[in-house]
Symmetry: C2
Subunit: 159 residues, 2 copies
Amino acid sequence: MSRADLSSSACTVARAVAAVGDEWTLLILREMFLGSRRFDDFLRQTGMSSHLLSQRLKKLVALGVVRRSVYSDRPLRHEYILTEMGKDLWPIIVAMKQWGDRWLLDGVPPVQIVHKSCECVTHPQMTCSECGEPMQARDARARLTRGFSAVRGGTADRA
Amino acid sequence: MSRADLSSSACTVARAVAAVGDEWTLLILREMFLGSRRFDDFLRQTGMSSHLLSQRLKKLVALGVVRRSVYSDRPLRHEYILTEMGKDLWPIIVAMKQWGDRWLLDGVPPVQIVHKSCECVTHPQMTCSECGEPMQARDARARLTRGFSAVRGGTADRA
DNA sequence: TGATGTAGCTTCAATTTCGGAAGCAAGTCA
DNA sequence: TGACTTGCTTCCGAAATTGAAGCTACATCA
């Protein structure tokens, strides 16, 4: 299977991966959440090639994650802004930051997240929508729909 | 800059991306959280080539995300198990699933997450560690350390 | 009136990575 | 004995990526 086929997978993780799960796209998103909007800012801050950046931005626009918007008429200039769909990717980037901060860093994280409403430096965590308790892998069990289970062939559920 | 250089970035998101932010690695992790442990299960469920799977597993073991463990002596057989570091990646995969369920799917998500302690089907969400409120992109502000801000060159913080 | 600069790309050649198929080693099973 | 299984490795053509250079439309400076 090639990567292009992932987007038609039944699994929504696979679809999300196909959409935004590559190295450079994730870095572009990080930049957007830090406030960058312009082609050259993305170039500078990510270090990627302009060719790839151009491709990735087009893909993100096509997906509806990012919107291309005019900020100057003369000369004509555009910037890239996250849509609702794009802003909703925040937990993914934050989850990566938290993991990176914890496991790949000695010392002080380069970025802190401040919760606007309580003004605290926060360490966002996954919690159960029903009982509100923090959740980790060990607290969860996956339940597959019958159809999805059939697609997977019944193997590999010895969790 | 090439992708290999990301792991030495000051930004911990970039480091996390370098470690686990590629398509196939994310799918392997998804499989692990669904309970797969064996080479052939990963092959079957992800559809990737064995060449790549082999490479990725080695990388994950080298990083300490996954542990290679003997489950049969004769014949000698191994399985791949998430370490603590690996289990801690759960929020990333869950965040991707939530986003995929919401934005890339019509209908019923193929996998539900059950919170063991309350037995509810849950939709894990990011919450503030300090006040416990659910958080989204709009509720957060990034605060950069002085050093990191200097590295970035001061540009692009018009958020 | 040029000369230089900037934002936002596109094009191109060289290199790297990937995909798919085949092979292989060490066993088991019949 | 011969087929099958698991868990890989090797190989090669195809596709993606990198880095540099170029290009367009304007602005600004002299």
